[in-house]
Amino acid sequence: MKDHAQFAEDLALYAMGTLEDQERPELEAHLGTCGECRRELEALRADLALLALSATGPQPPQRSRDRLKEAISEEQREMTESADASAVYRLHPRRLTLVPAAIAAVLAITSLGLLLEIQRLKDANVRLAVNLREEQRQSAHAKEVLAMLTDPNAQHMTLVAAKPASPAHIKTIYQKDKGHILLLASNLAPIPDDKVYQLWILPATGGPPVPCGTFPINSKGNGMMLDTTEAPGVEAKGFAVTVEPVGGSKTPTLPIMYAPAG
């Protein structure tokens, strides 16, 4: 049996949802009898919320806002249709005013049950429709990535660190006509929390670098980005990656961290 102090250490993991499954029942049983630990769990959740907020910085692209707007409009439309259908059903009991009261009551209850069931099915239908659209969107996304990987005209390039002997490796695939860029990075050097890596197109015309998206890396230095440039059609002679403030920059901050191999 663990003592109170040992439970206190488990609480932090429990609050994060990372306590091992076999340790959860004992802690949950203890939580049921220990008010102090329940208060500590609440405090830990608040600490974790502050920790989560520390990741604030990158802003989502406009397309995310448009996507949410579209999903909400669709749900509103579905709900309106559902309410209209229910209104039609509500008219039926009124036709029964001339039949015996007992039968009317039974039918009313039955109708109510049916209405609730219809509403439940409508709600389920809305959820299924939303899920289907999400699946379709993800499928389209996967097809887009696959198309990039198999497009014979896509420009493939490997970037390496400016500093020698670094294991860092970045692969870019660029579809000029669509402006789509896929980036896969591995073993990049860690950067401060208030910085991000940003990709740039180096135009073949020799003009200024064209800003692309920013991308984070995990603790292993790996990251991925699928981006669409604001100006498709730019012929690229190469790509470069710099370190920029969170949110990205319009012009690159030197030095260039990763550049085409060779």
């Binding site: 919320a49 502050l50 520390s54 604030t56 949410l68 409009s73 990251g223």
Partner: protein
């Protein structure tokens, strides 16, 4: 979805009330909430997933949950930001670990005691947390981030770092207590 009104023109409770009313104005309230908090949700998801597309999916999912079930949120002042941040982190971890959604969103009462509704107060809090994290011993910070932002169990962390299980647990708790202490 038009984001009507300037930022912070209404507090979170008023926006949530408009959402709950489910009237024609609900979509505008949702737009205002999105404009206010999408950076938090996206930032957390991106930190966990390190993948912009996957982070956008989590962003969409979290705000759709709020849209469908605004009644589960207790709109006490300053609570929406931490609630959304934790929901986003948990959902992103579920994605990383390829598991279905773990918890019911109703079961996450969060009361930080720190007013995070105001944008400038949020920025100050954010800087303070980052400062605390930067001041932690490297091994403490690493253990905390592996558990929180990568969803690793203490056993997995111990295996990866070669440290004893008890040491990993102690480091995680100590790091969290350091965050708490900075806000007292």
């Amino acid at each position: 979805m038009a984001g009507t009104g300037p930022p912070n023109s209404q507090d979170d409770a008023a926006l949530i009330a408009r959402l709950r009313a489910k009237g024609e104005d609900a979509a505008n309230a949702m737009a205002d909430l999105y404009d206010r908090y999408s950076g938090i949700v996206y930032g957390v998801a991106l930190r966990v997933l390190a993948d912009t597309t996957a982070a956008e999916d989590v962003l969409q999912e979290v705000f759709l949950q709020l849209w469908r079930r605004p009644q589960v949120f207790d709109a006490e002042r300053g609570r929406l930001a931490p609630w959304l941040a934790v929901i986003a982190r948990n959902r992103a971890i579920d994605v990383v670990r390829k598991r279905p959604q773990q918890e019911d969103i109703d079961e996450l009462p969060i009361s930080s005691g720190v007013d995070l509704e105001d944008g400038s107060a949020r920025r100050l809090a954010l800087e303070k947390v980052r400062s605390v994290l930067a001041s932690l011993p490297q091994e403490q910070r690493q253990a905390l981030e592996m558990a929180f932002f990568e969803g690793m169990t203490h056993t997995e962390i111990a295996r990866k770092t070669g440290e004893p299980l008890g040491t990993v647990k102690t480091r995680i708790r100590s790091a969290l207590l350091a965050v708490r202490k900075a806000f007292r």
